[in-house]
């Protein structure tokens, strides 16, 4: 599995930042992905200010599994009203956890793969 973070330029209104976190099944096998294990995109200001921004997660659903055929994608897009420097993070967990930081789970053993951080602004 590969994770990438990308900024969506054309979808933005002034003052907005639109970011997608994509997970690619780069294998030749069918993979079932639990969407609750995909964390992000998580914005982190260049310097912290006020209350920490929330971690981006999937809302609870009855069946969070999605089947990814070889070289197929799943992703999550979020829009942020923000100015100033932000770095976005995203990662995939080995199993679900509620103890998360923007760039990684608290327990490093739970990290499968992380996207290359994306800095905007």
């Amino acid at each position: 599995m590969k994770l990438t973070l990308e900024r969506v330029e054309h979808a933005e209104e002034p003052g907005q930042i639109v970011v997608r976190l994509l997970v690619l099944n780069d294998s030749y096998d069918v993979v079932t992905l639990d969407r609750g294990r995909l964390i992000g995109p998580n914005p982190v200001p260049a310097r912290a200010s006020g209350l920490p921004l929330p971690i981006s997660m999937e809302p609870p659903v009855a069946d969070a599994n999605v089947v990814l055929n070889p070289w197929c994608l799943y992703g999550r897009q979020r829009t942020f009203d923000a100015t100033g420097g932000l770095t976005f993070h995203g990662y995939l967990l080995r199993e679900r956890s509620d103890e998360l930081r923007p760039d990684a789970p608290v327990d490093p053993a739970l990290l499968v793969v992380a996207a290359q951080p994306l800095t905007v602004g």
Binding site: S49, I55, S56, R78, G84
Partner: protein, 307 residues
Amino acid sequence: MWGDHVRVHEEHGDKDSPGASRGPAAKADRTSIEFLQRHAGNAAVARLLTSAGPGTAAALHPGLVAHALLDEGSAGTEEFQAKPIGFVTTGPDLATPPLNADGLIDGEWTSEAVATVFVNAGKAGSGLVNWAGGNGGTTPGIGASTSVAPVIDTSPAGDAGTARAWVRAGTGTVNVRRHFFGVPVGANGPYYITAAAAARIDTHEQNHIAHSRLAHDAHLAPLEVRIAARVGEAKALSQGADPAAAKAALVAELKWNDSLTRFRDQDNTDNLPGGTVDTADSASAGWYKDLGPRTVGGVNYAHYVDV
């Protein structure tokens, strides 16, 4: 730092609010804003109302403010001062301490730094979450303290051969006060914050207060003990050949400036944004999460925040 000003204590459109007396015109204005919110989004409406300068909202809709900007849960009388949406950097306030003629910290050592904390003046009210440009989820004055420096009286060396120095009663006091602002449940610009998430934010702020208290107890409480031990001539320190030497010895014993500075440093380390409290608390179970876009009550929000 603050930009445009929008009063949020205007009205909710109910029968008791000032705007209600404006009758059909007020209702039409309110309906227009709600229409805009539903079709253009809260963020766009917020920008519209705050983009053209102070008083814009009142000029566009006298007596009315969009519901998304209202603090429906606020118990405070603070005037919300909106600023352009964004992330403002915050670091330790570098204000130098006020010193008296003796070089001792004396008076209010202010701090404009805002984090996510406390006092126990408790919760002073609530405002839009700081992610949406408000003051919700913040605590002003991290590192601040108000002190009355010890006035040191002396007496010359007597028959015992040493001069004496003591702290004048009523001086040598430090007062640390903190308060925080919560966030309203529901609309916070582009964020919809659930009751559970708002309660978690309050808990987080109280955690900051607890850590400020720890810093106080670690550095200022012992200082108070040292002061108390030298208040009044009966508890004078006898040291030095002359009053100046006795005074210098007492200043060294009290560690007044050092204690206040250490308190401020620890308070900053723990409680400024991104400090140890934020880092630890935000990584704990039960922390609020951004569950993405959602429609609540017919209004679209880009971020539904829940625990």
